[in-house]
């Protein structure tokens, strides 16, 4: 009867699922008695987080722990990230390293890990401290770039390039994102020392490349005399330089990005962009796992661990100095 046919199909589906599972099991033995450290990233389709994963894997090998790396499909899907953390808690991981997709929204998930007595380390993006305090949550350590200092570095460079005088525009990240907000604050603080540098426009391009293009195209329309741009991420800067190219102004506008993506470094070498701020995600991932391991051994770790940052310009854009370690 059709019930049997249907059942047959469902068995096939289950069999397929089994194959998928088996295929992906390669060397991942959950019953191994090594402690498991989980790294929950914002996404895995971004070179920054792929580097972080790489660093974490190296450290996990060095310290002899099993590493689980998980990420939501979309970078801003904090609810999916929460689901992943809840599931990892069920899977009894020993420690959790998280790059929060939302500084406030991640707090309920941290509280759940706290209740399960799983230590939480925050990487790259800070948790909103007030929300965490109000919820009674606890974070063992923060490992990340000093985005504020990076923003200042960008501001100092931009002011110098303009000869301390001129009109600048800003492309912001998603409002309320701690990372972008810190970069922006650092940048504005640096510019406060140069009263003749005027910010004519400061708008969000939501971290996205295509929006970087569109928003900056509008800025060029409304402020044709703009001389410099600070984008809070390279992706937005890369979008903006296309808009600058389309307006025939390549090389006439100083563009400073953030993140030192390979593509941005290439653009700097080609003279389409002027500078970016390098972060060191490989180190970030490695330091996160290292400190998780120290916590598991019962050692204490510093609460706030800064990973170095560096200004990248035409002089050093091609060198290894800024690439990996």
């Amino acid at each position: 009867m059709h019930t049997t046919i249907r059942n047959l199909w469902m068995t096939l589906i289950a069999g397929f699922a089994l194959l998928v599972l088996m295929g992906c099991q390669r060397g991942n033995n959950p019953s191994a008695d090594k402690p498991t450290v989980a790294l929950v990233l914002k996404t895995l389709n971004n070179p920054f987080f792929m580097d972080m994963q790489k660093g974490a894997q190296e450290a996990a090998q060095k310290y002899g722990v099993r590493l689980l790396v998980q990420a939501a499909e979309r970078e801003l899907d904090v609810e999916k990230q929460m689901q992943i953390i809840e599931t990892l808690i069920q899977g009894k991981v020993s420690a959790l390293c998280v790059t929060p997709s939302g500084s406030k929204e991640i707090v309920p998930a941290i509280v759940k890990a706290n209740r399960a007595a799983i230590p939480v380390l925050i990487v790259d993006t800070r948790v909103d401290s007030q929300t965490l305090r109000e919820a009674g949550g606890k974070v063992e350590a923060f490992i990340g770039s000093d985005n504020f200092a990076g923003g200042r570095l960008a501001g100092e460079y931009l002011a110098k390039r303009l000869g301390q005088k001129g009109k600048a525009a800003i492309l912001e990240g998603i409002p309320g994102h701690e990372t972008g907000d810190s970069r922006l604050r650092g940048f504005k603080q640096a510019l406060a020392n140069y009263p003749d540098v005027q910010i004519v426009s400061s708008q969000t391009a939501n971290w996205e490349r295509d929006q970087g293009y569109n928003v900056f195209q509008n800025v060029l329309e409304s402020h044709p005399d703009v001389q410099a741009l600070f984008a809070c991420s390279d992706l937005m800067a890369l979008g903006a330089i296309e808009a600058i190219g389309a307006a025939g102004k390549t090389g006439k506008i100083t563009v400073v990005g953030f993140d030192a993506l390979p593509e941005a470094r290439e653009a700097i070498q080609k003279g389409k962009m002027d500078a970016t701020i390098a972060q060191f995600p490989i180190q970030m991932g490695a330091i996160a796992v290292e400190n998780a391991c120290r916590l598991l051994k019962g050692e204490t770790v510093p609460r706030d661990i800064s990973v170095k940052i560096q200004l990248v310009t035409r002089e050093n854009a091609g060198s290894d100095l800024v690439s990996i370690h």
Binding site: I13, E73, K104
Partner: protein
């Protein structure tokens, strides 16, 4: 004849259930962490939001329609409710404001489809963009966070060890099942999806029922928004992106035909659970999110393929 149809629906639902159980058995064999009470409750809780959205989607799809705006409507009603709460509006009134927004968007969809005769794909695609934009304008792109304990109870509360989202989900499913099987609205939904012209000719006010069904779909999105907002302690204007696809997937895995005229509420619940179980199990096994997408996509295709083969056999 009637007997045969009900048997068919029954068996379809039963087949999906067998699929869910088979999947669970595989996971139980592969990881010791899967089959624990706390993990099963965890899955149910994680599935609740999509499952609730999928109830509305099931009604709409049974009428041979589609609603692409559910995720955006969820975000809009979430931020409206959240800002009401922040403005000191009492909890019940804030919930009403949020639900009202959902109902309104859904009704607008319904009127565009029923009165305006727009294809559902187009009108709800438009609404998807309009509601998302409205949520972003309303909040200036920022999330609204931090709510009272009594509001957060919608996510963190428990009734007899069952998490609140699961209680709300089950209640909605019971009501929806009764509405779909025992009321005029339900019977006409099947009739419209089966043969709209015949339904019109038999004197049913098809426009009215269509409008009501889309409005219900919007309302259910706003109920999901309550749970999501309470869960994250934050209402984000960018919440619920791609939820329409998850809800459609749950519905079709559950045996509802995109051509309309057939489907069951419990099938949709099982469909949502299959996706939840799959995600949970693959994460427990440490399988990357890239591979998870392949697995979920394959299950959708295979489930619908199975349905079509079955139908061809019955002809």
């Amino acid at each position: 004849m009637k007997f045969r149809v009900s048997l068919l629906l029954y068996s379809r639902q039963f087949g999906t259930l067998v699929g869910l159980l088979a999947l669970s058995t595989v996971l139980w064999l592969l990881t010791p962490y899967f089959l624990t009470l706390s993990n099963l409750l965890n899955i149910a809780e994680q599935t609740a939001i999509i499952a609730i959205v999928a109830v509305g989607m099931t009604f709409v799809i049974i009428t041979a329609g589609i609603d692409l705006s559910v995720g955006s409507v969820l975000a809009l009603s979430g931020v409206i409710m959240a800002s009401a709460l922040h403005a000191g509006v009492p909890l019940p009134a804030s919930l009403l404001a949020g639900s009202g927004a959902g109902l309104f968007c859904g009704l607008l969809n319904g009127l565009l489809v029923a009165q305006g005769r727009l294809p559902p794909f187009i009108s709800t695609l438009g609404m998807m963009s309009v509601a998302r934009g409205a949520a972003l304008v309303f909040t200036e792109g920022r999330a609204i966070s931090g709510f009272s304990e009594s509001f957060r109870h919608f996510a963190s509360g428990k009734i007899l060890a069952l998490p609140m989202p699961v209680v709300i989900m089950l209640t909605i499913y019971f009501i929806a099942h009764v509405v779909l099987t025992k009321t005029k609205l339900g019977r006409y939904a099947y009739a419209i999806g089966g043969n709209e012209e015949a339904t019109v000719l038999s004197g049913v006010n098809v426009r009215l029922y269509k409008a009501v069904i889309y409005a219900l779909c919007g309302l259910l999105s706003s109920i999901a928004a309550i749970i999501l907002t309470a869960r994250l302690n934050s209402a984000q204007p960018i919440a619920g992106i791609m939820y329409e696809l998850d809800a459609i997937a749950a519905t079709v895995i559950g045996g509802t035909s995109l051509m309309g005229g057939e489907g069951t509420i419990w099938g949709t619940l099982i469909g949502a659970l299959i996706m939840g179980v799959l995600r949970n199990g693959l994460t427990l096994l440490g399988i990357s999110s890239f591979v998870q997408q392949i697995a979920i996509g394959s299950v959708i295709i295979l489930a619908v393929l199975a349905d079509m083969m079955l139908k061809a056999r019955n002809r």
